[in-house]
Symmetry: C2
């Protein structure tokens, strides 16, 4: 039941006709309280979609009663008319729920640069309000899918409180958030500061370390709504850890469903002088098309890993680097190590370890391989 | 006759057997003087190949008498044994030509992480020295090819002096040089300072603005050798302009032969607050896999261009950006402009113009689309 697993939430997912496929495309999640504490993290892309511009304003109060989400159109680069559509959506939700428009977060996903059909959207929102229910979580999760092949949901239980979540995103997954909409709900009674800190820490270690194709979206939003309906206030460390754990689960579901990918690649950079150094090296590797093509070809091409590491300013000596594929150290001290024939890359999961021998810090980045299917899907998406 | 077009140069290209295909793989270019002035630019990758480590030392004197180049192996990440192979190559060339090893630049290209077969290389160098001739330029240009489908050569004539050049490179083309070996020769009588300034300026505006796949090589070398045999000393502006023009020609040949590419894309960023801003935006676009896939799909997806621009710190207002594909302004003021149906992307040449409306500076970046053929070629290259 995901976002409706915690007490105090209702949700729905309906078909408004925004998607040519006729699949569900409008979702609504409502927090019935008693608390309306919320926290959100948005894309750091400077070219933000209209719903992000709107929702950033809403979230200044750190309170939200509802979130309305649509697939079938990102409402991005659609100017004042597009902003008007977003605003009208929030007003309509507010009207149906007898709350204020300033309490309604709006999220959109789909093609950018085209106006949403506001009549269809309005009708969809009205229907979504009618269909709200305490077991509407799965329907909502389905309605936010775009090129996703399956809906992404997760639930975690604390002591006397629950955390639920749904996510969408299958391409444009990159740091500073993936193309991704995530709604988390909890019935824990937490204050706005705690919710904000927990969400930021969770994002930093999970969604921000997904780098599927290096492309940063314009619509990314991660929203956490807290109803307080359980009456339980967990200690902050416990709360933060459960939020992080649930975000990790959703992030891995996103990675596993990335557009056209054959392999899920975990890049662990160890013995770095700083966490930032480890991240820089991990990201440089995750963004190398040559490396990603090699993994698609089941080729443990460690030379392309060193060539990527060499583009960073991280502290290391090129002649000291070790690299392993799936635990086989094919590069030792910047030279050929164990025979590459010992590496088997036929499975979906690929692990790459890079030892910088420059300190005690480490970081993990998750990415995918670059495949013919990725090229196909992204050359045909808007046509 | 390219590198042997100017007076004072001999060259050759032979088959040493380093390439499984049995095609030519060792080239030698010799400057018979009277001058031995030279300038070079190397990859800025910190993980440099052995020939680059050697050649950087050679070029400290800003003089060179010969360059020996091999395809069939990059001699990169091959440790002390690999460096020994490079050193022995230079010694052998020096021995054959009765010059010093410190006057011999060495370049290698091919797969990284594997030792070169030094016996074959030595035999090849001996043969190349035998075959040196004043019309050996084309043979040399052919011997440095890897995945190139054709050799790249160009010649320019000054008043009483000549400039020739050859290049190889078809993948891993990225800023701070492409995977690319370039040898330029001239019989102009220029001093080392002039040669160095002219070469750096030319590289900055040509090779450094190629960004085929965002991957920076470990072996990139651009070498300019000046024999002074014409006895003519052109003024520096004229000399610099001709070097730039010839480098532009070679860069466009590299772009046109990029691995698996269907389209050559020129990204011009205009009305930027600074040249660096224009470059940052241009590079961000050139590195967006989603944009590159869209061009492959003949889709003028300007949303992906704005999304890329939004990841930079360049000065601009997102709501003011204009974007054109092949002269059709599909985005005006951050919103849909002329109908995308007016854009025809069936030809190989695609031009993208982004107007930042933030100043008077501009810059051009050249890239390619991302295709199934690119993925295929780079997933199969080493296997």
């Amino acid at each position: 039941m995901t976002v409706t697993a915690p007490q105090g939430f209702r949700a729905s997912g309906v078909t408004a006709g925004l998607k040519p496929s006729g699949k569900p495309d409008v979702a609504l999640v409502v927090n019935d309280g008693p608390s309306d504490v919320a926290a959100a993290v948005f894309t750091t892309n400077r070219c933000k979609a209209n719903p992000v511009l709107w929702s950033e304003q809403v979230m200044r109060s750190r309170r939200a009663r509802a979130v309305v989400l649509n697939s079938g159109g990102a409402n991005c680069y659609t100017g004042p008319q597009g902003f008007q559509t977003t605003h009208a959506s929030a007003e309509l939700v507010a009207d149906k729920l007898t709350i204020g428009a300033g309490e309604v977060v709006v999220c959109s996903t789909g093609l950018i640069g085209e106006q949403l059909e506001s009549d269809k959207l309005s009708a969809g929102i009205a229907a979504a309000a009618e269909w709200l229910s305490a077991d509407g979580g799965p329907a909502a999760a389905e309605a936010i899918m775009t090129t996703d092949t399956r809906s992404k949901q997760a639930v975690r239980s604390g002591e006397g409180w629950t955390l639920g979540g749904m996510a969408k995103g299958a391409g444009m997954l990159a740091p500073a958030l993936a193309t991704m909409l995530v709604v988390l709900t909890t019935d824990a009674a937490v204050d706005a500061d705690t919710a904000d800190r927990a969400l930021r820490e969770a994002c930093r270690l999970t969604f921000d370390r997904l780098d599927s194709d290096g492309c940063m979206s314009t619509n990314d939003t991660v929203l956490l709504m807290c109803s307080g309906a359980s009456g339980v206030t967990p200690d902050e460390a416990t709360f933060t850890e459960l939020v992080r754990d649930l975000c990790h689960d959703l992030a891995q579901q996103l990675l596993g469903d990335a557009e056209g990918a054959d392999h899920d690649i975990t890049i662990e950079v160890v013995n770095a002088a700083s966490e930032q150094d480890a991240l820089d090296v991990g990201r440089a590797i995750a963004r190398s098309n040559l490396f990603k093509c090699a993994v698609f070809g089941k080729d443990p091409n460690w030379g392309r890993i060193l060539a990527s590491a060499g583009t960073t300013n991280a502290e290391f000596e090129p002649g000291e680097l070790d690299v392993a594929f799936n635990g086989v150290w094919v590069c030792r001290g910047g030279e050929p190590g164990e025979p590459r024939e010992k590496v088997d890359l036929t499975g979906r999961a690929v692990s790459v370890t890079v030892d910088l021998k420059a300190g005690g810090e480490s970081a993990t980045i998750w990415t995918n391989d670059l495949t013919n299917a990725y090229v196909h899907e992204n050359s045909a998406y808007s046509t």
